[in-house]
Structures are given as C-alpha cells and as structure tokens.
C-alpha cells in the first residue's frame, strides 16, 4: 500500500471517532440543553439556582479539565468504571472505547450548558406581546408555545447554535487528552515516522466538515428568512 493511501485510511479511522463524538454529543446535548434552559427559567427558585450554578461551573472551567474529571474521578472514588463494548466486532469495540464514552459524557454535559444559555436567551427574547396575543385569542399555553413561540425561537437561535456546533467539530480533538484516538492524534503519530504533512491533511478533514455544516446552516437561515422576529 502506498503511503498516501495508508495515511488516508488511518486518518479516516481517527476522523470516524471525531464524527461519532460530534454526532452523539449533539444528540444528547441539544435536548439536555433545552431541559436545563427550562430549569433556569423555572418559577421554582431552588431549581433555578441549582441549574444556574451548574451552568456557571460548566462554562467557567476548561472543557479539558472536565474531561479529566469525568474520566478519572469515578474510578478514583470507586463509584463505577466506564463500560466497554464487547460486541465482538473489533473495529466497533475499539472505536467505542471506555475513553470515548467518558469523553462523550463530558462533551454532552459541557455543550448542554452552552446550548441551554442560547435557548434561554432565545425564549426570553421573544417579545411578551406574542404570548399575550395568543392568550387573548383563547389559546392554551401549550398551543402558544408550539404554534407561535417555537418557530420564532428556532429562527433566533440558529446563528449562535451554529457557532457552537462548529466549535464542537474542533473541540472533539480535546478527547485525545484521555487517549481517544481521534483525528489529530492519529495525524500526530505519523510524525514518529518523520511525516509532517498528515497534520495538514487532517486540517483538510476539519475544513471540509465545517464547510458542509456552514452550507447547511446558511441554507436553514435562508429558508427562514421570509419572516422577521
């Protein structure tokens, strides 16, 4: 096998870890973020205080530190060990490692905190008059949320959310601090063989991925440009 093909295959393998982290972080963090947002807006003060404190801690400390804590702390305190996969499918068991699962948990919690603030801002930024207009027309709170508020929130949060999501693409590289074999670390390992260019090559993976996401978000923004909020 020639060198380029070998590097490409290895990088693709590393990239698959990054993409798995990316996709599953979004799947967990977006709904969790919405839940935290509702807690932060709750009329019940203790719930509000707790969720705002959690958000403060998660946004106030480095993600790298959170990854360390989540990976090592359960074991150090004898609480539990992160599970490993035993499907017998070698690639799968090796890719979805205990390390990747721990990183995924850290990413999901951290990004949920950021998303929750975006959602909260989006919901609270909807003028009160929209809610009131629905109310005087005899609509229920649920009807108002789903028929009036939601679409306006979606439109408002697309730009800040897409920013976060693009940051997440690049943040997945942080998982290598606990030994997840993601893209960057795979590329870096080729330096042991005296190859520098795989590092630049790995940059191209990120660029193309982010480029595709950017096109998607531009399309979504355009789709919703027929109204102003």
């Amino acid at each position: 096998m020639n060198v380029f093909a070998k590097v490409s295959l290895d990088l693709l393998n590393g990239f698959s870890s990054s993409v798995i982290l990316f996709i599953f972080t979004l799947i967990f963090a977006l709904p969790l973020g919405l839940l935290i947002a509702f807690c932060s807006m709750s009329k019940f003060a203790p719930l509000r205080v707790v969720s705002k404190t959690i958000v403060w801690v998660l946004r106030g400390t480095p993600l790298m530190l959170q990854i360390f804590v989540i990976f090592y702390l359960p074991g150090l305190l004898n609480l539990f060990v992160w599970p490993s996969m035993n499907t017998g499918w070698e690639w799968f068991d090796k890719t979805i490692s205990t390390r990747l699962i721990a990183a995924l948990v850290a990413f999901s919690i951290n990004y949920a905190a950021y998303f929750s603030e975006i959602f909260r801002g989006g919901i609270e930024g909807i003028p009160k008059g929209q809610m009131e207009a629905g109310e005087v027309l005899g609509m229920t709170k649920t009807q108002i949320f789903f028929n009036i508020i939601l679409m306006q929130v979606v439109k408002r949060i697309i730009p800040p959310t897409s920013n976060e999501i693009i940051t997440l693409v690049k943040d997945t590289s942080l998982a290598n601090v606990i030994g997840v074999m993601e893209l960057i670390v795979t590329a870096k390992n080729f330096m042991n063989d005296g190859l520098l260019w795989p590092l630049f090559y790995s940059g191209a993976f990120y660029l193309i991925f982010v480029g595709a996401l950017t096109l998607f978000f531009n399309w979504a923004e355009k789709k919703l440009s027929y109204y102003k909020v």
Binding site: P127, E132, E135, V136, M139, K141, N147, Y226, V229
Partner: protein, 264 residues
C-alpha cells in the same frame, strides 16, 4: 341592566395603586372611548378586562352573568380563564401579529384551533363554514383582500393593525377592546385604521372600548366618553358633554392642554 357592567375595579402593582375603583356601564353595540393622560391606568384597565392582569377586586358582568370577580380570579383554573376571556377581544398598540404567519394565517390560527377543540368536545362550531373562509371574509371586511398572503414584515403599520383587528374579531368577542390602536402608526396611516373601526361599529354593531388620544375620532365614533385620571373615572358622559361642556377642572385642563399642543 346594561349589557356590560364594570364595577369597582381595583388593581395595584406592589405598592402602586393603578386602578382605584373604576366603574362604568355600556349598552350592546355602543362604543366607549377612554381618554386621559399617560400613566393613568387606561391600558391596565383593558388588560384586566382581558385577564392579562388579574384585578384585585371588582366585578365584570356581561348580560347579567358575572364573567370576572376579583375575589375569585386567582383561584380560577386556566381553562376557566380561557373561557371567560373569550368574551373580550384586544387589539394591541403594537399589533403583536405573529411574524412567521401570513395575514390570513394570523387570522385563521386561533379560530381553527378553537373550532377543532369545540368539535372534539362535541360543541357546536362558532361558524357554519370553514375557519379559512371566515378569515378571508374578515380580511375583506378590513380592506385587505389583496394582502392575505403577505407576511407582517411586508405590510405597512396600518395594514398590520387592520389584520390585528380582523384577528381579534374572528373569535366573536362580545366586547372588542382597542389600546391606542393608532399610536404606533405614522400620521398618514391612522386614517385607514380609524375608518375600519368606524365601519365595524356601523355595519357589525360590535360593542367596543377604545383607549385613544385621537380626540376627533373619539368624538365622532363614541356613544360615551370616559375621562380617566389617576385610576379613577373623573368624568363620564356623551361626547358632547365631555368635549363641549366639561365639568371637572381636570378635564378642562386636559382638553385645553391638547388644544395648545395642536396649536388651536
């Protein structure tokens, strides 16, 4: 007994007493204008009638039936409040149209949800035709036949307010309230909105309560005019009584202030 009886409405926000015993009566099909300077509680009164605020005490009676009683308001369930508030409609100063919907969808939305709910509960529909038809007819009535498919951001302020009026009428409120319907409009656009309101009175005979700073309009459209000062009814009478022979000194000063401002 009058069609609408509002009796002794009190409302405070914390320590600020905003409404201090407001009472008036209105016959079916009549128009009441509420005038007075800024911060006197006019908006708060309309919001109380529409349950956007809960009055601390006082009653509202419609055709002999109590629809709002300050004493029990806070104990009502959401469903009861919804039912009661449907007696009233409200047109906001800032329109509050739903930006993601066309003019037609704005008028249709609440009505179609309501008709679905009534059908599910086995109640007779509000109209004997599809809600979309009703919405179209209402938009034609306010002169927006050719703007139905446009979004609020594509309409002028006057057109937006006319959509808001059609939207408020869709649920057949017994009393339609307007909170300074032309205050957010450029002067050249106020005319079309005021004309629509006048037509509604003449052709539909809708009972209306209008808070307004347009004295000429108040004079010509109203059956009664209420002058409010500091949360109380300072003077109440026919337009002729209020505008041409005001009794209270405060009303005289208020009207004089307006004349000076308008350079008359």
């Amino acid at each position: 007994m009058a069609f609408l009886e509002v009796k002794d409405i009190y409302k405070s926000f914390g320590k600020t007493e905003v409404l201090k015993g407001v009472s008036f009566e209105l016959e079916e099909g009549q128009v009441l204008s509420i005038i007075g300077s800024s911060g006197n509680g006019k908006t708060t009164l309309l919001r109380c009638l529409n349950y956007l605020e809960f009055a601390d005490s006082g009653t509202v009676t419609l055709s002999g039936k109590v629809v709002s009683d300050g004493k029990v308001l806070k104990t009502l369930k959401e469903s009861q409040i919804r039912e009661n508030r449907l007696h009233f409609g409200l047109v906001f100063q800032s329109f509050n149209l739903f930006p993601q919907y066309t003019a037609l969808q704005n008028v249709n939305l609440a009505l179609s949800l309501m008709e679905k709910e009534r059908a599910k509960k086995g109640l007779a529909p509000l109209y004997d035709k599809p809600s979309m038809e009703v919405a179209k007819e209402l938009l034609i009535k306010v002169g927006l036949e050719d703007k139905m498919q446009l979004y609020p951001c594509q309409l002028s302020g006057g057109q937006c307010q006319r959509v808001a009026i059609a939207r408020a009428m869709a649920l057949k409120p017994s009393v339609l309230c307007f909170d300074e319907p032309t205050s957010a409009l450029d002067p050249e656009l106020t005319g079309e909105v005021l004309r629509v309101i006048k037509e509604l009175k003449e052709s539909e005979g809708i009972t209306m309560i209008i808070v307004t700073h347009e004295m000429g309009f108040a004079k010509s459209v109203s059956d009664q005019v209420l002058f409010m000062v500091d949360g109380i009814v300072e003077e109440l009478g026919t337009p002729e009584e209020v505008f041409d022979s005001p009794k209270s000194d405060k009303l005289k000063a208020f009207l004089q202030g307006l004349n000076v401002k308008e350079g008359r």
